[in-house]
């Protein structure tokens, strides 16, 4: 015979009769809800006991007994289904029941809402969400297959594991068919209730799998559309559009007929047509068809469609964590994230915190470095200074220039002779004769000779300038400098690469250390000088501070105050002291909250930044041997071309020099030069 419980007092019930001559001893309290409390069971770690606060109605007791009788392994797998009822004594009233323990699961809202998902399920991409929806559909399928219904479908009754496994909790509210009797579900959440049931009391309502299918479709939509409710859109009519009303009036905000019902999807949400037609149609059928046929998609239809959807996903090519239907032309998440500034999925992060992760497996720095050094630098070579080898024959002066030149020379001689004669005749006036000769001489000379000479001089200058330019080009392109510069750059890259992981660690630590500083900064920024009581600070001072951008305690620093007029000397010093003291008291009052961890998004960003940097360097180093070989080839090519050009230019310069020298030989050069100078 089983032992009677130690005590009949309700508050200290710790042993309960669980049928079949078994007693259950309650362990630690796990949670307390509105209906009852959940305890561990000593010796049965996989199960927990729910004990009701209030005595149960006979109906509820019968329902629990019926559920326990119909506890099927297929149901235990997907639901916290009652397996045994608990009584104070073998024939006492039912006080609670035993159910499988649901451990390590999270409420489904923490999966479909992006903000919590990024923390609780950081690895979950869209494929994970589709898979969770698929598992949810299969849970509904299992429940419906045994003639039961969930009834009160709502996010509070569904939990998800890190493997996207889904479980239903609070199962004692399900609608249960025990074969001889149907126990109804007396509760519901209007936001998740089918249109035909809106405004009807849940009590006494007979639910069907089709009613459940509405709630299932809603949850699937939440999972696939970043936590959006399909009936929460922008209402273009007057007043508010509560969700219950929107459901009742089939105002599916994302549907193809939404505009006709004055609804619009909220901004920056995934459009329904981003999904393949097969899945989009299921949503349309679930949310917009008021006619009895075609009925809402069943749990089975959802499961099959979602399985297919998950097989046909494509990964975004931009290195994000985005997955999307393969039929889409472009990644819809990229567009949404760009337009909204929100981040829907945690960017992929390799565990970049260890050396092995930073140094990519396929990338071996030493091997690649050997290949880089394997490219021999071009042989250092001095720039040649070619001289014209062949004898240069100057371009002869045209006949007419020669004759004019001789004629000019004759005229000069004549003038010279005349001056000599005149000087001999009247030596006293020699200065007058000379003066006269100089005045007359230019008018006797023909300028075509001078022009020819000028032309040849310019040609020489041009040749010399071109030579200098060629030499500069040679120094720039034909020496081994470009090669050496590139090699130097590669050295720097290699060092940078080796330091990457240390740098990342340093930045991560800095992020951690900054946490307190950032909290303090935020705290100080919340304290405005404007509203604070600071002794000695008058309204005019506040205005002066404000116009210098000093508005909050965070802005108050000795350096910043120095620049504000009226805060320099005498009373100003006191004001500065008062402000700094104010800041100090605030800082003392600040309480650092260590629970506020570094934002995982910031860490992910940092890691992504480093990963990008690492990949960039790897790519550059991998391409380096080829690049060096190309640079070398280019140098040699330039060298050959420029050397030829140098020889040609040297010839040209020599020619120009010889052409000009011709004039010097005529003997008129002295005069011409002198003339040029005048």
């Amino acid at each position: 015979m089983p032992h009677p419980p130690h005590s009949s007092e309700k508050t200290t019930v710790t042993r309960l009769y669980s049928g079949a001559s078994r007693w259950v001893e309650l362990g630690k309290l796990l949670g307390r809800g509105g209906e009852g409390a959940v305890h561990e069971i000593s010796g049965r770690p996989g199960f927990v006991a729910k004990i009701y606060h209030q005595p149960l109605t006979s109906d509820k007791a019968l329902k629990l007994e019926g559920m326990a009788r119909h506890a099927h392994p297929g149901l235990l797998e997907i639901a916290a289904w009652p397996v045994d009822v608990l009584r104070a004594s073998s024939n006492g009233p039912i006080q609670g029941f035993v159910m499988p323990r649901v451990n390590g699961y999270h409420e489904i809202h923490s999966l479909y809402g992006p903000s919590h998902r990024k923390r609780t399920f950081p690895h979950a991409d869209w494929s994970f969400l589709v898979h969770a929806a698929r598992n949810l559909a299969s849970a509904f399928e299992a429940i419906h297959a045994r003639g039961h219904a969930v009834g009160d479908v709502n996010p509070g009754n569904v939990v998800v594991s890190a493997q996207a496994l889904v479980k239903m909790i609070d199962c004692d509210s399900f609608q249960i068919d025990t074969g001889d009797r149907i126990f109804l579900c007396d509760v519901g959440v209007p936001q998740f209730t089918a249109p035909e049931l809106q405004d009807r009391p849940f009590h006494g309502l007979r639910r069907t799998p089709d009613h459940d299918a509405f709630g299932l479709a809603l949850l699937c939509f939440h999972l696939l559309f970043m936590g959006r409710h399909p009936f929460a859109g922008r209402y273009r009519g007057k007043g508010d559009m509560p969700i219950e009303r929107a459901i009742k009036e089939y105002r599916f905000a994302f549907g193809s007929r939404a505009a006709g019902r004055l609804m619009e999807p909220p901004p920056h949400t995934l459009p329904l047509d981003a999904l393949p037609q097969s899945v989009a149609t299921l949503f349309e059928r679930a949310f917009t068809s008021s006619a009895p046929a075609p009925r809402r998609p069943s749990a089975r239809e959802w499961r099959l469609a979602l399985e297919r959807l998950n097989r046909e996903l494509r990964s975004c090519s931009r290195g994000t964590a985005h997955k999307y239907p393969a039929l889409s032309a472009d990644c819809p998440w990229c567009a949404l994230e760009k337009a909204s500034g929100a981040v829907f999925f945690v960017p992929p992060q390799r565990p970049a915190t260890t050396e092995s992760a930073v140094n990519h497996r396929d990338f071996q720095l030493d091997a690649i470095w050997k290949r880089i050094l394997g490219v021999a630098p071009p042989i250092a070579e001095a720039m040649p200074h070619p001289t014209a080898q062949a004898p240069i024959s100057p371009t002869p002066l045209p006949e007419i220039i020669k004759r004019t030149s001789q004629f000019n020379f004759g005229k000069t001689l004549a003038i010279g002779g005349a001056v000599l004669l005149a000087a001999l005749a009247r030596p006293a006036l020699i200065w007058l004769w000379l003066l006269l000769a100089f005045a007359i001489w230019p008018f006797t000379q023909n300028s075509s000779v001078r022009r020819e000479r000028q032309r040849r001089r310019l040609a020489l200058l041009a040749a010399q300038r071109e030579m200098m330019e060629l030499q500069a080009t040679w120094q720039e392109r034909a020496t081994d400098q470009p090669f050496i510069r590139e090699l130097h750059h590669l050295h720097l890259l290699r060092d940078c690469y080796r330091n990457l992981s240390a740098e990342l660690q340093r930045d991560l630590q800095r992020l951690d250390a900054n946490q307190r500083q950032m909290q303090l900064q935020a705290f100080l920024e919340n304290h405005f000088i404007d509203t604070a009581q600071i002794p000695g600070i008058r309204t005019t001072d506040r205005m002066a501070l404000e116009s210098y951008g000093i508005e909050t305690a965070a802005d108050v620093t000795a350096a910043a105050l120095e620049t504000v007029p009226g805060f320099g000397q005498h009373l100003g010093r006191q004001r500065v002291a008062a402000l700094l003291a104010w800041r100090q008291t605030l800082e003392q009052r600040f309480r650092h909250d260590p629970r506020q961890r570094v934002d995982p998004a910031a860490i992910a960003n940092l890691q992504q930044h480093y990963t990008e940097q690492r990949l960039g360097i790897e790519q550059e180093l991998l391409a380096a041997p080829d690049k060096l070989a190309k640079i070398k080839a280019e140098i040699l090519k330039q060298r050959a071309q420029l050397n030829i050009a140098l020889i040609r230019q040297a010839m040209q310069e020599a020619q120009a020099q010889a052409d000009l020298r011709l004039f010097r030989r005529t003997g008129l050069v002295v005069f011409s030069r002198w003339r040029n100078r005048v």
Partner: protein, 231 residues
């Protein structure tokens, strides 16, 4: 009817609320706190109030869904100042209020309702469902400004179920005027049980945030013998 096509002000570019609502599209449960920090609150009342605010955040954070849904705006008066614009409980930083000047309650109420109005417009624009907002006034004095029009706005808002207004009087509050301002019976805080008050408030906000927009939620009676208030 035929209004000339007047130019309207338009907000600049992409506002931060886009990312905010995309990241967290949960229905919102807005709560405006109108807190008296007039000089008469100086000493332990204001300290207890600050402690209570810290409790408020902690309690809300304990519930992950409420943390995403409950949004808090805080207006202090004496003088009127928006201490916190609407922020979800997750991001709300409890301020440290200090006792300052007078009690411009009328202006504070108007400011709080204006914040609420703007926030609701934002919800509608972003397709975010919301619960009936709560406006929660705590004072220890008599309004030092014109409060009749504020009372009028509150009556209109309550009638259209645009929000629920609650008034709590600390020792020394003029409950006669509070009675004229609030449709609901104003409550008197027992002693300085601010912490209990905010625990009750967070519990209420939690049960509302777990309920359904538009439905009435049964709340714990704060005037029970061990509650924080008396009528």
């Amino acid at each position: 009817m035929n209004q000339p096509d007047l130019s309207h002000q338009t907000p600049f570019g992409v506002d931060f609320s886009v990312a905010e609502f995309a990241d967290n599209p949960e229905p919102r449960c807005p709560c405006v706190l109108l807190l008296d920090n007039s000089w008469s609150m100086n000493g332990s009342p204001i300290n207890e109030l600050n402690e209570g605010l810290a409790t408020f955040k902690e309690e809300l954070l304990a519930d992950s869904l409420a943390a995403k849904r409950v949004e808090i705006a805080l207006v202090s008066f004496g003088p009127v100042q928006v201490v916190n614009e609407f922020q979800t409980a997750e991001h709300f930083t409890p301020p440290h209020l200090s006792a300052q000047k007078d009690t411009p309650m009328g202006l504070a109420i108007m400011k709080g309702l204006e914040l609420l109005h703007q926030r609701k417009a934002l919800y509608r624009e972003h397709g975010i469902p919301f619960f009936r907002p709560w406006v929660f006034l705590i004072t220890d004095g008599t309004p030092t400004d014109e409060w009749k029009s504020a009372a009028n706005e509150i009556r209109k808002g309550e009638e259209s179920r645009a929000f629920a207004f609650f008034a709590v009087g600390v020792e020394g509050a003029n409950l006669d005027i509070l009675q004229q301002i609030s449709i609901r019976q104003p409550l008197r805080l027992r002693g300085l049980r601010f912490r209990e008050l905010f625990q009750w408030l967070s519990n209420s906000m939690r049960s509302i945030s777990r309920s359904v927009p538009g439905m009435d939620v049964p709340l714990n009676n704060p005037t029970s013998p061990d509650g924080w208030a008396s009528v």
